[in-house]
């Protein structure tokens, strides 16, 4: 890294890339999430988002948001809108993929609000 300008350029480029994504799907994959079964959940979502869909949707792993008893957690950001899916399984991930990620319909029964 040679200069602040170089760092700024990486920042701008990354933010621009993140900005083109309509849905950012984050799977909590810290030790807690993995232990609760996040890996198969991640696989369903990552394998499901391919081809054209991958141009507007990104599936990433992330750290722990701190809600231990709700793991595995999947969050979907669409601009300011945040949806928190909890206690996920591969089957639930499949439904979220079809309904929410592909068709924009929140699967309310899997969200934190319905599982509180």
């Amino acid at each position: 890294m040679k200069s602040l300008a170089e760092l700024q350029a990486i920042k701008d480029k990354t933010n621009q890339e993140l900005g083109t994504v309509e849905k950012r799907v984050l799977v909590g994959m810290a030790t807690c999430g993995i232990a609760a079964g996040a890996s198969p959940v991640y696989d369903v979502l990552a394998n499901g988002v391919q081809g054209d869909l991958a141009k507007t949707v990104s599936v990433k792993q992330t750290g722990c948001v701190g809600i231990c008893q709700y793991e595995p957690v999947v969050e979907i950001y669409e601009g300011d809108k945040r949806t928190t899916y909890v206690k996920m399984t591969a089957e639930k991930a499949q439904k979220v993929l079809e309904d929410h990620i592909k068709n924009g319909k929140v699967v309310y029964e899997y969200t934190i609000g319905a599982n509180n």
Binding site: M1, K2, S3, L4, L7, I10, K11, K13, T14, N15, L18, L26, G28, A30, T31, C32, I34, K60, Q61, T62, G63, C64, V65, G66, I67, C68, Q69, V73, E75, E78, K81, R82, T83, T84, G104, K105, V106, Y108, T111, I112, G113, A114, N116
Partner: protein
Amino acid sequence: MTCSNDKMVAGASLNETEFFKKQTRVALRNCGVIDPCNINEYIARDGYAALGKVLTEMSSEDVIQTLLDSGLRGRGGAGFPTGLKWKFAAANADDQKYVCCNADEGDPGAFMDRSVLEGDPHVVLEAMAIAGYAIGATQGYIYVRAEYPVAVERLQLAIKQAREYGLLGKNIFESGFDFDIDLRLGAGAFVCGEETALMTSIEGKRGEPHPRPPFPAKSGLFKKPTILNNVETWANIPQIILNGADWFAGMGTEKSKGTKVFALGGKIKNTGLVEIPMGTPLREVVEEIGGGIPGGKKFKAAQTGGPSGGCIPAQHFDVAIDYDNLIAIGSMMGSGGLIVMDEDNCMVDIAKFFLEFTVDESCGKCTPCRVGTRRLLEMLDKITKGQGTMQDLEEMKELCLYIKANSLCGLGQTAPNPVLSTLNYFYDEYVAHVKDKRCPAGVCKDLLSFTIDKDKCIGCGLCARNCPVNCISQTDYVAPGHKLASYVIDSSKCIKCGACMANCKVGAISKK
């Protein structure tokens, strides 16, 4: 409820929960938000901008002054002012100095540091490089326990990425400053979290502590001036550089600035990791963020500071959590474990739990800790078996004070704290074990007896069928209004497992 495309669905987001709303995320700001394996995502959230600012605009004195002004204190337990530690190390001229990160996280049940390492590894690297510049060090070490394989893997990847970008290595930001970081894996010994033992372990020797002074700022790793900070301490530093000392000092209480991460556990609805401003009342953490105690049970105490800490009883439920307030009531901040206990927890048993831990983890180098904690545990064991005497209680206290005063390192010096604080606040409970041979919370097995109320018993026999030692048999007494004869427990054979009570459909079995 309608689910439209662009409208927020009520309740569907973590943002709307009490758990989340009351938190202020500084150390955890990127955890669960960025991809920890992608350095660009860290940079997109102002990552490495603080290092850039420090290397291009600030002198090392400026950096240290900013930390002093921010009021940041160490998050690893003792709460020593971070800026002061750096100032001491900067003042000691030497050809080689070191910067270390304590990622040993040995407190049972604590996972604050693991979460930062796994969710935001670059923040630690960036902060350590800032420290290297401030004190004049070119090499850093992260001491992380091998039981954290995911953290280790992500740290390794982060170091590799930072080197590729030239954010670690030679001539960073063309400032002439060189800095690199290596990992050292620990085998998961509690004592290796103590600073002198940690450095001895990095040197490749057996992880045992040695007396201070000299303090590490003067003679630390390889006898060179060294600073050691905790993971969470590091995680605050880039934000302090970017947002200024005043911003940070604007959060918290007079002497404890900023936020603190707690691992919330025990008898609480929302277990998890929470980051709250210093000064938040304990009651708010338990009742609002934590969602209260399940089953409508009553709050009895909160344990903070892990094996070095103490219990905060109900009369101090409103205490504003900061370093000094917790010490004043006989506990301590510690690294952030917060275990909530209700009426079903026996405080003698809790003290015993922590003593078992310290007895196991004592390195054995000094006698007060090696032998003293073992004697203390034996006394506690006697009490929980109903064989203790009032004299034991007196002697126990004396032994506690002796161990504290004479142990070599912080492990022994703090090991008696769980005993002292429970003796102080829950003396009645100790006395009940000693004098009445009774455990008021119904936990200590040797003092329990299970009995069947012969008039409530319907004679179904479920208890007898579930008893693993076959100590329940049928009598010939048939209670008025019942068809079958009642059962009775032979307490001489009973192992107090509680299976009978758990299986009784009519609540005829009680323990006392």
